[in-house]
């Protein structure tokens, strides 16, 4: 299983999911949703060292979720909304498919186990 998750190319959706799996990186994205920010802007709310924040930014950049200006002195970070939208659309579509599938499975399991008392917590 682990081997299948390796070799995520930069900008892939798997890379985006891996980047989003970390709470600090999600918080960074939320801040960037309000506008571009520099590494020091982003480090301030987290009580983290600049190198630590830089490491998170590198992961986000490799995932395609943010971009950074190459030539400006402070290299502000920019949220790539299109990439995030792609992740969001995909998640919503697939959650819906699995929600509907498991709703049906719930019903099927209830029918199979006819004797079992119905629960009212759904």
């Amino acid at each position: 299983m682990e081997s299948m998750l390796k070799n995520r190319p930069p900008g892939s959706l798997d890379a985006a999911f891996a980047a989003l799996a970390d709470p600090t990186r999600r918080a960074i994205l939320t801040i960037l949703a309000d506008g571009d920010a520099t590494v020091s802007d982003l480090a301030a709310p987290f009580a983290m060292s600049l190198p630590a924040v830089s490491k998170h930014l590198k992961v986000l950049e490799a995932s395609g979720l943010i971009s950074r200006t190459r030539n400006a002195q402070f290299r502000p970070c920019h949220l790539e909304r299109a990439a995030l939208d792609g992740v969001g659309d995909w998640i919503e579509d697939h959650r819906r498919v699995w929600d509907e599938r498991l709703d049906k499975l719930d019903q099927h399991l209830a029918e199979l186990q006819g004797g079992k008392e119905e629960r009212d917590d759904s």
Binding site: L13, D14, A16, F17, T30, W90, L112, Q113
Partner: protein
């Protein structure tokens, strides 16, 4: 976060508690007579005769999803990667390129924790031209980040 934990969190996580023991849930996912009852999403069917389950690593897992209203069909073509009854089932979807791994964990009271992990997600969904007409909202962003956070805790 350690690299291994990040790997585990890469991809979509989905879980749900089902009111049946793992043995029965596993049977539901591996027997055409059961799959036909729930495999197709709302408004569609998965005819038993079109379901193929060769339950072994390397075996085929194929279904046909039929849209009830239009009759349009969608074939799913997968290969099993892991088969460990009644706990683990994993397959690679040739029609999407994705890998799906499902675990069934016994819970007290004869219930099952169903956990799904979907990885190798196709990159084209990241491309803006594939999402015409979609508007971003921060609420939406916040919602799905929550879903991810839930998944990442496992």
């Amino acid at each position: 976060m350690t690299p291994s934990a990040e790997d585990a969190a890469a991809g979509l996580q989905y879980s749900r508690v089902l009111d049946a023991p793992p043995e029965l849930v596993f049977d539901c996912f591996t027997q055409p007579g059961h799959l036909t009852h729930f495999w197709a999403p709302k408004g569609a069917s998965a005819p038993t005769t079109e379901i193929l389950v060769d339950l072994r690593p390397g075996g085929r897992f194929e279904t046909l999803i039929v849209n009830d209203a239009t009759g349009a069909t969608y074939a799913t073509r997968s290969v099993f990667l892991e088969v460990h009854a009644p706990d683990i089932l994993a397959w690679h979807e040739e029609h999407t390129g994705m890998t799906v791994r499902v675990t069934f964990t016994a819970l007290p009271g004869g219930r099952t924790l169903f956990s799904l992990h979907q990885s190798d997600i196709p990159d084209q969904v990241l491309r803006p031209e594939n999402r015409a007409g979609f508007a971003t909202t921060l609420d939406k962003l916040s919602n799905y980040l929550h879903h991810l956070a839930d998944g990442a805790k496992q």
